[in-house]
């Protein structure tokens, strides 16, 4: 199974979190918010394309809206394969931090 890359993980997690409203701009905002830094749209766009190629997400075009001058949004949705990859990534992360419960949160 394809593994999630370093930046693919937060992008896929953002798609999963946004559910029906995951398009380029909202995904970028969500990733920026969670990562605590401004991320470039270009990197999000390319990552979404790659996640699509890997079969972790699917996309479909939305209806045109006056809000964007008639331009349609491309909405992304996580697939079963994407969900499995996200669950696997969470397990790996959990395993990495096992036995390190004594670590104090930042700023504590």
């Amino acid at each position: 199974m394809d593994e999630l890359g370093k930046f693919e993980l937060p992008v896929l997690a953002a798609v999963a979190r946004l559910r029906g409203n995951a398009y380029g701009v909202s995904v970028m905002d969500e990733v920026s918010k969670r990562e605590g830094r401004e991320v470039a749209y270009g990197s999000v766009h390319v990552t979404l394309d790659r996640l699509k190629d890997k079969g972790f997400v699917t996309s479909k075009m939305g209806e045109p809206t006056a809000e964007r001058g008639g331009r349609r949004k491309r909405y992304y949705q996580m697939t079963g394969k994407g969900e499995a990859a996200l669950v696997a990534a969470r397990s790996r992360s959990k395993a990495t931090f096992e036995g390190l419960g004594w670590l104090k949160p930042v700023g504590a």
């Binding site: 380029g24 749209y41 990197s43 990552t47 790659r50 001058g69 331009r71």
Partner: protein, 133 residues
């Protein structure tokens, strides 16, 4: 899907003096004012370029975006380019509203990221093909 050319739309304009004013009014609002008069005498047909004049961009910002857009069309695959341009336009307008002084450089950086990302993808595909994956 719209092919990117021009089209005509009816727009209600009060006290129209010239096309420039008509464009300004169109940019100012997409919704009808409260004192809307449905009479056709108050309507004027004006030529509007898709995604060029309907957004409230000033001329320089709009022209810059069109130039960047053309380069994106060259660099990315058509489907990917359409999505990138639409999202970038939304973000660019947001940037123009909050930080107009740096919007131009911001746009260049985003474009550079897109091109760099695309180049890396091509390299990745090429490497995978060579490795027989």
């Amino acid at each position: 899907m719209y092919d990117g050319g021009s089209f005509k739309i009816p727009v209600m304009i009060h006290h129209v003096h010239d096309d420039a004013e008509a464009h300004r009014d169109l940019k100012a609002s997409h919704v009808l004012p409260k004192n809307f008069d449905a009479s056709w005498a108050n309507h004027k047909m004006i030529l509007v370029h898709w995604d060029q004049d309907v957004w409230p961009m000033d001329t320089e910002a709009s022209m810059l975006f069109q130039r960047v857009r053309r380069w994106i069309d060259y660099c990315l695959e058509p489907e990917s380019a359409d999505t990138a341009v639409a999202n970038l336009e939304e973000l660019y307008l947001r940037r123009l509203a909050v930080d107009p002084g740096h919007a131009k450089w911001w746009l260049f950086v985003q474009f550079a990221w897109l091109v760099f990302g695309r180049a890396m993808e091509l390299l990745r595909t090429f490497s995978a093909a060579r490795a027989g994956k």
